[in-house]
Amino acid sequence: MKQTHNLLVDVLLTPSLVTDFSNADWDLLVRQANHSRLLGRVDYRLADKQVPEGPAAHLEAARRVTQRQRQAVRFEVAQIRHALAPLGVPVVLLKGAAYVAAGLAPAQGRIFSDIDILVPKTRLEEVEQAMLLHGWVGGHHDAYDEEYYRNWMHEIPPLRHVKRQTVVDVHHTILPETCRAKPDPDKLMSAANPVSEHEDVFTLSSLDIVLHSATHLFYEGELEHGLRDLVDLDALLRHFSKDETFWDRLIERAAEMDLRRPLYYALRYTQRILQTPVPDATMRAAAAIGKPPTPLAWLMDALFGRALMPDHSSCDDALTPLARWLLYIRSHYLRMPFHLLLPHLVRKAIKKRFSPVQADVPKLEDN
């Protein structure tokens, strides 16, 4: 078996390690961080460290990208707010957009992709209309995709702004409709907190932010950015647990929202991989309500232990591809009933084979 070396996590935990770094260490760190979309985070952690010229160029680039993205997120949120204000619909920001709007710890150096919002299911149609009116249109989805989203998912097909090309995912709950676990979206909504800048824009409560982040990560199949999401979780837990009552309330809320197992996984793997200071009593309480039966727990350790490594060849062992594949199947199994699962996966596999998501090579001579 190949020796794997998770330099990225070592540095995130102990930034001072870089003082003894060789050029080869820097090289590997930047590659692992880039693949895990954590280069901006590394840059943030290394702010007061001496970095040689070569890697410094990449860290600087990541810093500029993340700064720009933070700005862009704020701008998009204002635009969404403007589009939806006439409806009087409460808009809850999720994930990255929420971290930025609420000034939460994971926003530091984070790379963003889409903006995610949550609105009441009963208002979904109006929201979609209003978004369309302001330039956000559904992408090119075939009838199957459309139906897949509308019938089974917790969000409508992604909306892309015609001019800015930014993508907004509009959710009506945090897990697919077909999922066995059914957290109540009304409970999420009623616990949400207004963002200080705008009183009609909300983020989930601190407990629900953590639970959503955990649910997203541990129900998600494509774990290429798994480590990034785990780093988010770690930052959230460290941040919110400054309030001593947080841990007990978190356990209670997980039970109430039917999200016991994702919470257990979140606490177990943040603690195992990122040394998040989860109190023993909390870990025991989470295990009592959410730990899977022993053989399964053992298997999940083997799977997540691999899939939550940086998605870079230097961190793969012989079983990594299998682990990622099994988790991919698992996520679909958790999200849809068995009779839908197989045809869906077959269809996805065929589609991927014949139309891989690749762009044309950009040729400057074409301009």
């Binding site: 880039n34 680039a61 060849s313 090579v361 301009n367």
Partner: protein, 304 residues
């Protein structure tokens, strides 16, 4: 040690195994490829570039190889690997070497945000540099190749790198990429220069490469201040003529032709306007290369 210290065979053997690490301008690239035409192209056009020892920091890990799958037996293709990712569709195998040039440009334009990266050629003489921004059909690569063959130093024929730290232009001397009839024109005009094979690009005609002059490669560490922005416009039969262009207009043009201007936000605006303050801007109509060169040789720095 330079790349041409390796024979073609040795180079190919290294390319198809651990890869060859070399430096062009400020960037270090590790190239892996089992494809013979890549080895020949690199050997011919990148011979004077310094090799870098394994264990040094590498900016870009590039692999050009035939994709897996059944199609390889029907239609041979080449795919670009970027440290294990494959962001682009494969191209016909014969275009493997041009693909290296295209994707290397992409690597720089998309990752090197300590520069304002503008699509344009840059040439330098006596410490003063001219940027030739490149709207469609401007003929800037031809003009750039001609200038370089007559004593101007090549910074780049495609990517103007403006340092955000000191506003200086940073050289990235690589082969000049020529299109269609420009290839034969330059072969006549710069008879001493080395040219790579021509590649028939199905969509955009033929592409060929002119080797960068040795001096430009050896002096790649010497930065320069932008002194002139010249927007070339080739049209047959016109007199060579420089027409002053307002700085505001030229600023807009450079911003539009930049890959990361909007990403850089305020920093990009600041560096661009500061640079423009010290530059003369012109539109340049020409039809004959000799006239063009005479015009460039007569350029004067801004009077301050």
């Amino acid at each position: 040690m330079n790349l041409d210290a390796l024979s073609v065979e040795k180079l190919q053997q290294k390319l198809s195994t651990e890869g060859v690490i070399f430096r062009t301008g400020p960037f270090t690239v590790c190239l892996q490829s089992p494809i013979e035409s890549v080895a020949r192209g690199i050997h011919l056009l990148y011979g004077q570039y310094p090799l870098v020892e394994a264990g040094e920091f590498v900016d870009f890990y590039v692999r050009l190889a035939r994709p897996r799958g059944l199609r390889r037996w029907l239609k041979p293709q080449v795919e670009f690997g970027f440290d294990g990712n494959h962001p682009f569709k494969p191209l016909p195998l014969v275009q493997a070497f041009p693909m290296f040039e295209w994707t290397f440009n992409w690597c720089i334009a998309n990752h090197m945000h300590r520069y304002l990266v503008v699509h344009g050629a840059v040439v330098e003489r006596n410490g003063m540099a001219a940027i030739l921004p490149a709207p469609p059909g401007s003929g800037k690569s031809t003009l750039c190749a001609a200038l370089v063959s007559r004593g101007w130093r090549l910074f780049s024929d495609e990517l103007a790198l403006i340092s955000l730290h000191d506003g200086q232009l940073v050289p990235l001397p690589r082969p000049v990429s020529l299109k269609n009839e420009s290839i034969d024109i330059m072969k006549d005009y710069a008879a001493d220069a080395v040219f790579g094979p021509s590649y028939l690009d199905t969509k955009k005609g033929t592409i060929g490469h002119m080797k960068s002059p040795l001096e430009s490669v050896e002096r790649a560490g010497e930065h320069a201040k932008a002194t002139w922005i010249v927007m070339p416009k080739y049209a047959s039969g016109v007199e060579a003529c420089l027409t002053p262009v307002s700085k505001a207009k030229m600023c807009m043009l450079l911003a539009e032709n930049s890959f990361n201007y909007s990403l850089l936000g305020e920093a990009g605006f600041k560096i661009l306007t500061e640079m423009m303050d010290g530059c003369e801007s012109y539109r340049f109509d020409y039809s004959h290369l000799d006239d063009a060169i005479a015009t460039f040789d007569a350029l004067e720095p801004t009077a301050e």
